[in-house]
């Protein structure tokens, strides 16, 4: 007679712990990242990770993404800085190179979040679980992301 695995009979959900909920939709995450920039994208990534109970596992990626963005900002934002880099990218991407690269970074962070949470997103879709409204939090993150960018720009100016 096979023995029973006792570890499987330990509860995994506790009323005192953070209630696990469905993540915000990928659509809300993409729109937030596109308009709000990398910081808004990273915040949406973190909120979704917290909602599905894997913030500790994803924290390293979120911190790396924010650190990389801040480092890049510090490198290119001060007037007269990174002239060699600008001379390299402007001929390829035009005068809007800076804005394009910021948006590109935001979309890459968003894509990273989508890849990390793909199983959970698929599970929610398969079971038809109700998702929270992503537009209110998305709008708040867009405003916060744009404000943080403006603050950073004035700081480095």
């Amino acid at each position: 007679m096979p023995s029973v695995r006792e570890d499987l009979l330990r509860p995994s959900l506790s009323p005192a712990a953070t209630v696990i909920g469905a993540p915000f939709s990928n659509q809300a995450a993409v729109v937030t990242a596109f308009i709000g920039g990398p910081l808004a994208a990273a915040a949406m990534f973190a909120i979704n990770a917290w909602r599905i109970g894997r913030l500790a596992r994803d924290a390293v990626w979120i911190v790396l993404a924010v650190a990389a963005y801040l480092a890049w900002f510090a490198y290119v934002a001060p007037p007269g800085a990174a002239m060699a880099f600008k001379a390299l990218v402007v001929p390829w991407l035009g005068d809007a190179a800076n804005r394009i690269l910021v948006r590109l970074g935001a979309m890459l962070i968003c894509l990273g979040g989508m890849i990390c949470h793909r199983r959970e997103q698929r599970s929610v879709d398969l079971f038809g679980a109700k998702r929270p409204n992503g537009w209110i939090i998305g709008a708040a993150l867009i405003v916060a992301g744009l404000a943080a960018n403006a603050l950073l720009a004035s700081w480095f100016a």
Binding site: W92, L93, R119
Partner: protein
């Protein structure tokens, strides 16, 4: 000649068979008569809860189940159904509590492990769900509920993998089973084989013509298979990941072409813009046109 007064166990059997065939209206008529004669009969009450659940009246089913448990706290089938009803109501903490209580009483029930796996899948605890399915299949390698849950785990982790061993085993064991067919339809739809998924969904609807869920499923797949949606296949298949890819690729190519071939870059940027507008505007319009009936 038919016995005009079948005893309660015959009546119960008859109601159970009617519910197995989803004939809830007739089953309810018989249940009403039987419950008038014996209102506290837990087996009849359990069938009444099943009828409510089949008719998507979860609140009614839960009230009846809780009544059964107040009469007979150890009623296995009622507590089992309570787990599923709690999952449907998103009360996952309570669902886990009842499932674990049942598993401690029946630690070798593969079906109970599969039910607990369903709770864990809904709670997005995918690894634990997989471990529970593994345990259920270790206890009973051909258990259908466990194979179904394991097939769902595989589908969540590798939606494009045609080699879903649990689903293949289910198909070999019960090729005509409606639950198996529903899983196959879901697997095909997630793998992007929407035409084949639509064929399966239509077959399921033929077997259960009164199911609103299946009607909606066929409508959704019909909408996804419309000829005007063909250009949007990459977006349907890869979702927002494809949108991001198109945006990144498009912007980089347009900007790079801008200096050397501005006309081509201009045409390409208009094409991408048109495609984006089409992907945003047309699907909801088509959905409204096709799904309004």
């Amino acid at each position: 000649l038919d016995d005009p007064h079948p005893d309660s166990s015959d009546r119960l059997l008859q109601i159970g068979e009617l519910l197995d065939r989803q004939r809830t209206t007739l089953a309810r008529t018989l249940l009403k008569e039987a419950l008038q004669a014996d209102p506290e009969n837990v087996d009849l009450l359990y069938e009444a809860a099943r009828a409510d659940s089949l008719d998507d009246d979860n609140a009614g089913a839960r009230r009846t189940i809780e009544h059964i448990i107040s009469i007979e706290p150890t009623h296995l089938a009622a507590r089992w159904m309570l787990v599923n009803l709690l999952v449907d109501d998103d009360d996952l903490v309570e669902a886990e509590r009842v499932a674990l209580e049942l598993l401690r009483e029946y630690p070798r029930s593969a079906d109970l492990y599969a039910t607990y796996a369903r709770v864990m899948l809904r709670a997005l605890k995918l690894q634990k769900a997989r471990d529970l399915c593994g345990e259920a299949l270790r206890l009973s390698p051909d258990n259908e509920s466990a194979l179904r849950m394991m097939a769902l785990c595989n589908l969540i982790e590798r939606p494009n993998d045609p080699q879903n061993p649990s689903l293949r085993k289910l198909l070999a064991q019960r090729p005509d089973d409606q639950h198996t067919l529903a899983l196959v339809v879901t697997a095909l739809a997630h793998a992007g084989q929407t035409r084949e998924a639509l064929r399966g969904a239509k077959e399921l609807l033929r077997l259960q013509p009164n199911s609103k869920h299946l009607v909606d499923n066929v409508r959704e797949l019909t909408y996804g298979n419309h000829w005007s949606m063909v250009p949007l296949r990459p977006l349907q298949r890869y979702g927002w990941g494809a949108s991001i890819g198109i945006w990144i690729g498009g912007i980089l190519v347009v900007q790079m072409l801008g200096r050397s071939k501005p006309e081509l870059a201009n045409a390409l940027s208009w094409f991408i813009f048109g495609y984006a507008v089409y992907s945003w505007v047309w699907p909801p319009v088509l959905r409204r046109l096709l799904l309004r009936d």
